[in-house]
């Protein structure tokens, strides 16, 4: 007699899987982008090169907005990569480089702005949406589970 309920549960599980899949795809897309070619070649120090790659991937190219300065061949991105590289070689910390950039271009230049009062909304919104969605699903499921089960075949089936 509880067949429709079980079917519902299966629907919800499928929906959850779909959502999880979509999230995964988004996360993967960011990493798949190939870095733009740098005329200067690689840094000799591997640790520095690794930091260079990570930092440039986290800085927004302001003229192409949806690319990082690591991905873009725009003039400004090339200049900013040179800047990052020089600062790394000069022994600056990652934080020093990020604050150099935000002092000049604002928080917008960072793809992952630090969590603080004014960025709470962008960091919190996805979790809020997830909670809201979960709440709506929960209500719908609970409401429907209270419906009588033996109301005969549905119209149109």
């Amino acid at each position: 007699m509880n067949r429709p309920v079980r079917r519902q549960a299966a629907h919800i599980a499928a929906l959850a899987l779909l959502l999880a899949g979509a999230f995964g795809a988004f996360a993967g897309a960011g990493a798949a982008v190939e870095a733009a070619v740098d005329a200067n070649g690689q840094l000799e120090d591997h640790a520095l090169q690794a930091r260079f790659e990570r930092i440039t991937l986290e800085l927004r190219c302001l003229v192409c907005q949806n690319e990082s300065i690591a991905d873009s061949n725009a003039d400004l991105a090339v200049d900013l990569r040179r800047q990052v590289r020089e600062m790394l070689v000069a022994g600056n910390s990652d934080d020093a480089i990020f604050s150099f950039m935000t002092d000049r271009y604002g928080e917008f230049v960072r793809f992952r702005p630090p969590l603080e009062a004014k960025t709470l909304l962008i960091w919190g919104a996805p979790f809020f949406m997830l909670l809201l969605g979960g709440f709506i699903v929960f209500r719908v499921v609970r409401q429907r589970s209270r419906m009588p089960l033996d109301d005969g075949p549905a119209i149109g089936s």
Partner: protein, 179 residues
């Protein structure tokens, strides 16, 4: 009751959001500059018109001036050039040009052909000074007050209307508070 109220509130919320977000008069690519209210970055660069001399931000200490970032590769800069010439002829404030990612010969030719609205033109061939000023597109026009602070940044080609509406009142206010 809230079955009606909830979608309705959501709808009103969206309308308000779109009214602000999709407003065509708002330039979505214009970013607020973190430099506003901060000391203008110092520079000493080669003078485009006389390469034996240099143009230094220190020379404008104590006075209100405008820094206009341009390049001969920039089509929108050609567009605003006429407005800059008209503004310069009013002699309200000195306009300093910053030639961004360009070479001297091209810049000189541009100024000979189109006229020179600038009191001095500095050459930032490798774009380092532009990075200090947070330049990300040309043309950009900065207003610096008598205390050497950046008080306004305008991104887009300059027009007589923008000069009238955004720059003149700020220049007057800066002079009042500076005096």
């Amino acid at each position: 009751m809230w079955k009606f109220l909830l979608p309705f509130t959501a709808f009103v919320g969206l309308v308000v959001l779109f009214a602000f977000g999709l407003n065509p008069s708002r330039d979505i690519h214009a970013l607020p500059s973190p430099l506003i209210g901060k000391p203008a970055p110092a520079f000493t660069l080669t003078d485009v018109l006389d390469p034996t001399r240099s143009v230094s931000s220190g020379a404008y200490q104590g006075q209100v001036y405008v820094l206009n970032v341009w390049g001969t590769w920039c089509a929108a800069c050609r567009e605003e050039h006429e407005a800059l010439l008209a503004i310069a002829s009013q002699h309200v404030v000195p306009i300093v040009g910053l030639v961004w990612k360009d070479d001297r010969d091209r810049a000189v030719q541009w100024l000979r052909q189109l006229g020179n609205p600038y009191q001095a033109v500095a050459l930032d061939g490798d774009g380092r000074t532009a990075i200090d000023w947070g330049v990300y597109g040309a043309p950009e026009t900065y207003l610096v007050d008598g205390q050497g602070r950046v008080i306004y940044k305008f991104i887009s080609p300059m027009t007589p209307e923008v000069w009238q509406r955004e720059f003149l009142p700020r220049i007057a206010a800066a002079r009042r508070s500076g005096a």
